[in-house]
């Protein structure tokens, strides 16, 4: 291993295919752009948003910070189910559905 990167050391939630991700994204209740943000801001915002949502509502966070794909779902564990979509160019969408 010569190149170190975040993807190999992050536990990504279940991945969504492009079509499903696009469909879900259009129906999202709330979208948060967390591009350029790092811990703990995305976790804090996710927690706040999940609290104000109804059961079944979908929160999407857009991020370019891979560790967020593990940490954000963890911060709302027990309150929301998580999936992730990879754009392929370093951006990610984290889908959090309130339980």
């Amino acid at each position: 291993m010569s190149e170190s990167g975040w993807e190999g050391v992050v536990d990504l939630p279940d991945e969504l295919d492009d079509e499903t991700a696009e469909e879900l994204f259009e129906r999202a209740t709330e979208v948060q752009d967390m591009t350029g943000e790092v811990c703990p801001y995305p976790q804090v915002e996710a927690k706040k948003a999940i609290q104000s949502l109804e059961s079944g509502d979908l929160l999407v966070q857009e991020t370019d910070h891979v560790p967020s794909t593990e940490n954000v779902p963890k911060s709302v564990e027990g309150q929301a189910d998580a999936n992730v979509w990879k754009s392929g160019d370093g951006r990610y969408r984290i889908f959090l559905r309130k339980q």
Binding site: M1, S4, V38, Q43, P67
Partner: protein, 107 residues
Amino acid sequence: MVEEVPPEDVKDRIDNGDDTQIIDIRSPAQFEQGHIPGAINIPMAELPSRVDEVEWSDDVVVACPIGQSSVQAARLIGSYEGVDDDSSVSSMAGGYEAWEYDLETEE
């Protein structure tokens, strides 16, 4: 698995003069405002490209704001080939939020 060490243990290691390397992955601005004495600042985004620049000690503790991203950072450092397999790379539980001791500031 990355071991998570409580801040009290980190403090003890510093007080005992152990050869513990503290890696602070917060932003340079946060680091300047105050950090664990002796900590080295490597912002999280720079860690993958700088992991081979550092002379890693056998005992590394990673600190971040709330103790979550430091877990991945510790995994990243631990997986680096320049770090011995029997080295300990751990994450400070609770991060800076849980650190109740004195901070060092840049002069």
